[in-house]
C-alpha cells in the first residue's frame, strides 16, 4: 500500500485490500491508522458501506475512521440478536448501490461510488427506516463515544473530580461586563 494513497481511497478501495471475509463476518483493516474492525454478522460490503455512510452523515475532518468503525461494530453487536437488522442493513446498502439517472437505473456498489454520488444517494433515501436506523446509530455511537465527545468539549462525568466548583464552572473570559 503506497503512502500516496489517501486514507479515504484506502477505505473506499479496500474491498480487496482491507476486507478479509471469514465465514459470515469480515475484518476491516486500516494499516495507516492502525485499526481493524472485525464483524461477526455483517458482511464486509455492508460493514464498509455503513462506515462510509456514517462518515458522510456526520463528517468531521479531525476524526479518523476508527470512530465511525465503532458505529459499525455497535450495529454488528445488535445484529447478533436481531436478524431483521442484518436484512435491513443489507437491503439498505443495496438501495444505496442503485444509480438512478433520468433514463436508466444501474448498480454501482455504494462503497465504490464517488463521494458526490454517495451524497446524492443518501439524500434520495433520507428519512427511510434504514437511513434513520444508521443515522440514530451514528448519533449515539459517534457522539456518545466519550473519546469523541471530549474532542467537541463534552467533558463527561464530573462527580469523581469534585464537580466544577474548582474547575471552571464560571471561568468565562470573553464575555464583556454590563
Amino acid at each position: 500500500m503506497s503512502n500516496n494513497v489517501s486514507r479515504r481511497t484506502f477505505i473506499q478501495g479496500s474491498a480487496t485490500a482491507g476486507v478479509v471475509v471469514s465465514g459470515a463476518g469480515a475484518i476491516l483493516a486500516n494499516t495507516e491508522e492502525a485499526w481493524a474492525l472485525s464483524t461477526e454478522v455483517l458482511s464486509g460490503d455492508t460493514a464498509l458501506s455503513i462506515l462510509i455512510m456514517a462518515r458522510t452523515l456526520y463528517p468531521h475532518d479531525f476524526l479518523g475512521d476508527q470512530y465511525y468503525a465503532e458505529v459499525v461494530a455497535n450495529l454488528d453487536e445488535q445484529a447478533k440478536t436481531d436478524s431483521s437488522l442484518v436484512e435491513k442493513l443489507d437491503n439498505g446498502v443495496k438501495e444505496l448501490s442503485k444509480v438512478i439517472e433520468s433514463d436508466r437505473t444501474y448498480n454501482v456498489p455504494f462503497k465504490d461510488q464517488s463521494s458526490g454520488l454517495q451524497l446524492q444517494n443518501l439524500k434520495r433515501i433520507d428519512g427511510s427506516d434504514f437511513f434513520e436506523t444508521v443515522r440514530g446509530a451514528t448519533l449515539a455511537g459517534l457522539y456518545g463515544n466519550p473519546r469523541v465527545a471530549a474532542l467537541f468539549g463534552w467533558e463527561g462525568s464530573s462527580v469523581e473530580h469534585g464537580g466544577y466548583i474548582n474547575r471552571g464552572f464560571n471561568d468565562i473570559g470573553w464575555l464583556p461586563k454590563n
Binding site: 452523515l57 456526520y58 440514530g136
Partner: protein
C-alpha cells in the same frame, strides 16, 4: 426504625407515590403521629446508584411503562417522569418559585378565553404564604430564609449579560432547592452538572434522601417500593377501604386503609381513579364531575440554544441556577394571558444536542451533512442554552384516558395522553422564543436554535381543585368531592398551571394537606 404494617391494618393512611407530593405528605403525617404506608411503583436507589451519565440514568429513573401520546406529544414518550423512590424529585432541576397572586385567580384575572377551561383556585393566595415558607425551609431554597443564592455558572453569565443589555432587571441565579452551603445534613453544591440525572452528592432536595428517611425514623412510616397500584377499593357507603397493588414478585395484595392519598403524577393519578370504576362509580372513582383525567397541562415550554462567540461549556455547574423573571407577570399588551420565565438549561450531552437541534429546530441547517456538523456539532462548546417555561391554558380536550384494548405488564389498560397547544400557548411561546434569542444576540450570538417542547416533566391538572364539585375533582385540601377519605396529593390537583416550576407548590400543598388531614383524623371526621 422503619415500621412494618399489617395488610389488614385499616388504621393507616395509604399514600400512592413517594415524590414531591407523596413523600412530603408521608413525612409530614408521620411527624404528626399518623401511621403511613407509602406504595411506590419504582425501585429504591441510593446515591451510589447515581452516575453522571444521561443514558444510564434515563434507564434507571424514567417511567417507561407503555404510554401512548397523541396530539402534540411524542407517541412513545409523552412525558418524562420517574418511576423510582423519590419520584420525579430525583430528576427535577431544583427551581422553586412561588406562584403569583394573579395565577391563583386565573379566571378572574384573564377573563373568558375561548377554548380554555379556566377556573380560580379555591385557595386564598395569602393563606399559601405560610405553607410556601415552610416548604422553602424544608427544601433549603436559596434566596429564602437567609440562604444565599448559588454562584452563577458560565451559562448563567451569558444569559445575565444579554438579559441586562436588553433592559431586563430581575435576573439572578434563582430560588433553587439545591444547597448553596451545607444544610440539613446534606452538602453544598459542587457544580457537578447532571442535576436532572440525579444529584450524586445529595445537595439537591429530593424526597429520596430527605423526607423518606426522616419519615422512616419516626417508626410510623413504611415504604413499599416496587409496588404498583392497580385500583382503590371502596365500601357500600362509597368510602375508600383499601388499595390493591402488585409487588416486585408479581403477587397481588390489598392494603387496608383509613385514608388513601394519590400522588402518582398527572397521568397515573387519574389512571388509578379511572381503573377503580365500579358499580357505584361507573365513570371511575371521584369522577362525578367528569373532570378526572381532563385539563391536562404541561406548561408552555421551549428551548433556545445560542452559539456564542467564545466557549461557554454549559454543562458545567448547576443546570437551572439562572433565571430572567421580567416576563413572568400578566400583561395583556404582549398579546397573551399569563407569563413565562427564562431559565438556564444546557442540553443533555453531546449526542442529545447533535440529534435534537437537527430533529427539532427549523433554524438548523438540516439534520446531517457537512453544514450541519460544522455549524451545530462543532460549536458545541460555544453553546449557551435556556428553557422557557410559562403558564399554559387548561383545556378539557387535553388529558388522560384508558386505552380500549392495549394492556401493560400489570394487565392495566395503558394510558393515552392527549395534548394540543392552546392558541395562547403558541403566542406565548413565539414571544418567548424571540425574547430568548434576543438575549443571546445581545451577548454576540450570531446563530440561535429554537426547539419546541421536550417530553414534559411538569404535568398538571388532571384531578383539579375546585370550589364547586361540578367543576373539578377535589377541594382546596385535596379531598375528593365525592369520596371524603380519598385525597389528591400531587400536581394533578392544580386548578391552573401558573408559570412557575410546580414542585415548590406541590410540596407547600402537601404540607397544608397534612395539617388538614391530621386534624380530620384526630377529630375522627375521616
Amino acid at each position: 426504625m422503619a415500621k412494618k404494617f399489617d395488610l389488614n391494618d385499616d388504621s393507616v393512611v395509604v399514600i400512592i407515590g413517594s415524590g414531591a407530593g407523596g413523600g412530603t405528605l408521608g413525612n409530614e403525617l408521620a411527624q404528626k403521629g399518623v401511621n403511613v404506608v407509602c406504595l411506590e411503583a419504582g425501585k429504591k436507589l441510593s446515591l451510589d446508584d447515581i452516575e453522571n451519565d444521561w443514558g444510564a440514568m434515563f434507564g434507571k429513573l424514567s417511567w417507561v411503562d407503555k404510554r401512548q401520546g397523541t396530539g402534540d406529544l411524542l407517541a412513545g414518550l409523552p412525558l418524562w417522569v420517574c418511576k423510582t423512590v423519590g419520584g420525579t424529585t430525583v430528576h427535577w432541576a431544583g427551581a422553586s418559585l412561588r406562584f403569583k397572586d394573579h395565577e391563583f385567580r386565573a379566571r378572574s384575572k384573564y377573563g373568558e378565553i375561548a377554548g380554555a377551561n379556566l377556573l380560580d383556585w379555591p385557595i386564598d393566595p395569602n393563606e399559601m404564604e405560610r405553607f410556601y415558607s415552610m416548604a422553602e425551609d424544608k427544601m433549603g431554597t436559596t434566596g429564602t430564609h437567609g440562604i444565599p443564592r448559588l454562584p452563577g455558572n458560565n451559562n448563567f453569565q451569558v444569559m445575565e449579560y444579554g438579559a441586562k443589555a436588553l433592559g431586563y432587571t430581575d435576573v439572578h441565579t434563582g430560588n433553587m432547592s439545591i444547597n448553596s452551603q451545607p444544610r440539613d445534613g446534606r452538602p453544598g453544591c459542587h457544580q457537578i452538572g447532571f442535576c436532572m440525572a440525579g444529584c450524586a452528592i445529595g445537595a439537591k432536595w429530593s424526597t429520596l434522601y430527605t423526607e423518606i428517611p426522616k419519615a422512616e425514623a419516626t417508626g410510623r412510616f413504611e415504604l413499599r417500593s416496587e409496588s404498583m397500584v392497580l385500583k382503590i377499593n371502596h365500601n357500600k357507603e362509597g368510602k375508600a377501604t383499601g388499595v390493591v397493588y402488585v409487588d416486585a414478585d408479581g403477587n397481588t395484595h390489598e392494603q387496608k386503609a383509613r385514608v388513601v392519598a394519590i400522588a402518582g403524577n398527572s397521568v397515573e393519578t387519574p389512571r388509578i381513579l379511572l381503573n377503580s370504576a365500579s358499580n357505584m362509580f361507573t365513570d371511575g372513582m371521584a369522577n362525578s364531575s367528569g373532570q378526572v383525567g381532563k385539563n391536562f397541562m404541561r406548561h408552555m415550554t421551549g428551548t433556545v440554544y445560542g452559539t456564542m462567540p467564545g466557549a461557554v461549556h454549559f454543562d458545567r455547574g448547576t443546570q437551572m441556577a439562572g433565571i430572567v423573571m421580567d416576563e413572568s407577570g400578566h400583561d395583556d399588551s404582549r398579546g397573551f394571558a399569563g407569563g413565562y420565565y427564562m431559565q438556564t438549561l444546557p442540553g443533555f450531552g453531546l449526542s442529545a444536542i447533535a440529534g435534537n437541534i437537527g430533529n427539532m429546530s427549523v433554524d438548523s441547517p438540516g439534520k446531517w451533512g457537512r453544514n450541519y456538523t460544522r455549524e451545530v456539532v462543532e460549536n458545541y462548546k460555544n453553546m449557551a442554552g435556556m428553557w422557557l417555561v410559562g403558564e399554559d391554558m387548561p383545556q378539557e380536550k387535553n388529558g388522560v384516558t384508558l386505552h380500549d384494548s392495549e394492556k401493560d405488564q400489570y394487565g392495566l389498560p395503558i394510558p393515552v395522553v392527549h395534548f394540543e397547544d392552546h392558541p395562547n400557548d403558541v403566542i406565548m411561546r413565539n414571544h418567548a422564543f424571540k425574547a430568548g434569542s434576543a438575549v443571546y444576540q445581545a451577548g454576540g450570538s450570531k446563530k440561535q436554535y429554537q426547539l419546541p417542547p421536550f417530553p414534559s416533566t411538569h404535568n398538571l391538572g388532571t384531578c383539579r381543585m375546585s370550589a364547586n364539585a361540578r367543576d373539578g375533582v377535589c377541594s382546596s385540601t385535596g379531598a375528593t368531592h365525592d369520596v371524603p377519605n380519598l385525597f389528591i396529593s400531587d400536581g394533578s390537583s392544580f386548578t391552573t398551571g401558573a408559570a412557575a416550576n410546580p414542585t415548590l407548590t406541590i410540596v407547600a400543598l402537601a404540607i397544608r394537606q397534612a395539617e388538614n388531614m391530621s386534624n380530620l383524623l384526630s377529630q375522627n371526621s375521616i
